[in-house]
Subunit: 231 residues, 2 copies
């Protein structure tokens, strides 16, 4: 399997949207649902230690955040108890719609993230990091995300990151960054995933063969009808 260098994920997405006429909404739904399934594999309800299967989903302002919102919605359907922290909402209708879908399904939204880390450790079984994603300018991370990353570096409960751990460079792990237990790669792993040593999933099974070939992705065979695979 090959790793995608900087810009390749964006180029593939542009091709899917322009040439294949996929919709952004459609892709985000596919990816978010696949992320939720990865979480159910990595942390099945039966394995969850706290009484309630609570999950804190931290959503960024852009596409990675919307994938987090879809993931939270499907986790709710799978009987988990997600809580969302979505500090900066996008002005785009598309992203707002995903927010409303969660609100209307009575998924609670936090108005702020406790700075007292123990409160997070006590309240949730895990954190889903759907904040910055690929293509973020990590040399210039602004608030509130800088503060959130500071908090996440201290939490003791596991973190599962969507696509690229927040604060990591797409091409290499950030030395003093967060250390997720699980990484859910979308489309194909980004180069930084090569230095990730936790549980690694590839999620979202829909990529046209011509695109897989063109970008030399060498994706593994997904088992049966699963939409994800543990790498």
């Amino acid at each position: 399997m090959s790793y995608m260098i900087k810009g390749e994920a964006a180029a593939i997405e542009t091709e899917l949207l322009k040439d294949y006429r996929f919709g952004q909404q459609q892709l985000i739904e596919i990816w978010g649902q696949a992320c939720a399934l990865a979480i159910t594999k990595a942390y099945p309800l039966s394995s969850i230690s706290k009484k309630q299967p609570t999950v804190l989903v931290i959503c960024g302002p852009d596409q990675n955040g919307s994938i987090g919102l879809v993931c939270a919605r499907h986790l709710r359907i799978f009987e988990y108890e997600p809580t969302i922290y979505h500090p900066k909402r996008s002005s785009q209708n598309l992203h707002q719609d995903f927010t409303v879908q969660c609100e209307k399904m009575d998924i609670p939204f936090l108005s702020y993230l406790p700075t007292e880390v123990q409160l997070i450790n006590d309240a949730y079984n895990l954190v889903i990091d759907a904040m910055l994603g690929p293509g973020s300018d990590i040399s210039n991370i602004k608030e509130p995300y800088l503060g959130i990353l500071g908090t996440l570096k201290q939490v003791k409960i596991p973190i599962a990151s969507v696509d690229v751990p927040s604060g990591w460079d797409e091409e290499e792990a950030t030395q003093d960054g967060i250390t997720p237990e699980v990484l859910i790669s979308l489309t194909a792993p980004k180069k930084c995933a090569a230095s990730f040593s936790g549980k690694h999933f590839l999620a979202g099974r829909f990529l046209p063969y011509d695109i897989q070939k063109k970008y030399d992705l060498n994706l593994p065979d997904f088992p049966g009808t699963d939409s994800l695979i543990e790498l």
Copy 2:
């Protein structure tokens, strides 16, 4: 479990689109993917008798047809060999996009349906009927669908219908209509499903609990993380 009377499916969909701010594209993707999974359950690759796992997907002009297109695309990803017959294409961008996605994935489109039924029996393992769906005016079925129904009544390979068998009334089976082997109900079974005696699936697991309650749907529990259940 309760059956939906005429108009309820449409009312639920309106609520999902207006109040919950789901997108039509998003719903069609969810339903089409779930239909493909139902087909893999009903007709697993290992059970298919012909050398090639060919499937003929007949798509109508509206939403049911688009669900068929999404189903065909996912079947292709699951290593089936779908062929699409889509005689009347919608002028709506949304539906056209689903068509392009299939075309770009090299799924063949028939330009006409053979009237010689034996050709269909010989070429395909099964037919997916994604033609008319709920809400169609079955007292006034026009060409080419009338002719297609005539052909489907004669085919010897199994038919799997999406949501409502084409030509059936939403509330009761049509006596001289087609007799599918499989019915894939979306959202919840329509009343006509009560008189269906084949393999019956409920597919698409995403419906907000408040809607399930409001419409008294009494949906069964989906097993594990499955997005479908055999009823």
